[in-house]
């Protein structure tokens, strides 16, 4: 039996643009890749009444999230001919304008990377036990709800 290897997807704080560049750069040696698809979630400064969202404080049930992410990863690799898949989600306070989710898929031809990336984003939002608390400019807060 293959060992079940849980990979950590969580990072403390926002995902810097340099991390994304570094991740892209690492794939230059994988010359069987023809297409990369990347999704980035960025925190919006939504208007809430006369306040704005200053940032989102993310918490997660990390153990369960990594178990669930393992399942999702296996299902996506089984469904699409992917070369690589990388997922990063922020925990803690992420200011408006910063990146909180980074999904990165690579494949030989473009369709697989694109469709896998879309499906990953949908499943991450729907199935991972992560909660966002929107912190408003007056320091009040409300719990984010995914549509």
């Amino acid at each position: 039996m293959r060992e079940k290897k849980l990979r950590n997807i969580f990072v403390n704080g926002a995902i810097p643009a340099d991390t994304i560049a570094e991740s892209i750069r690492k794939h230059h040696t994988k010359t069987d890749i023809g297409a990369h698809s990347i999704f980035l979630g960025q925190v919006r400064a939504d208007e809430i009444g006369d306040q704005q969202v200053a940032g989102i404080n993310y918490t997660a049930y990390e153990d369960l999230a990594l178990e669930k992410m393992y399942e999702i990863r296996e299902a996506i690799f089984a469904k699409y001919p992917l070369t690589c898949m990388h997922i990063h989600h922020s925990l803690g306070m992420i200011a408006a304008g910063e990146i909180c989710l980074f999904v990165f898929t690579s494949s030989k031809h473009r369709k697989a990377a694109m469709e896998a990336c879309d499906e990953l984003v949908e499943r991450i939002k729907a199935e991972l036990p992560i909660w966002g608390q929107e912190i408003l400019t007056d320091d009040s807060h409300q719990w984010k709800e995914n549509k």
Binding site: T59, Y61, H89, I124, I130, W143, N146
Partner: protein, 77 residues
């Protein structure tokens, strides 16, 4: 018998804590009923339950040392 209850999202606010320890809870339905009486706001909140890191549907018997997580709707990403 000791059951560990993990709380997440808005439930941490409603219950004023992240973790609860309860004794003598036969099953998850009893646990939910008990907490609804203790924290009347809970009845208005939709939440899923995981027992030992597995999301359950329906009632589940509880035994000593189990961990129950109460999870309001997810909002990651």
């Amino acid at each position: 018998m000791n059951i560990k209850i993990l709380l997440f999202g808005r439930l941490t606010e409603l219950l004023g804590q992240n973790v609860l320890h309860l004794e003598d809870m036969a099953d998850t339905d009893s646990l939910s009923r008990f907490l609804s009486v203790q924290y009347p706001g809970l009845a208005q909140i939709n939440y899923q339950i995981a027992v030992n890191q597995e999301i359950i549907h329906g009632n589940r018997l509880l035994t000593d040392g189990m961990t129950v997580a109460l999870m309001p709707p997810f909002s990651g990403g």
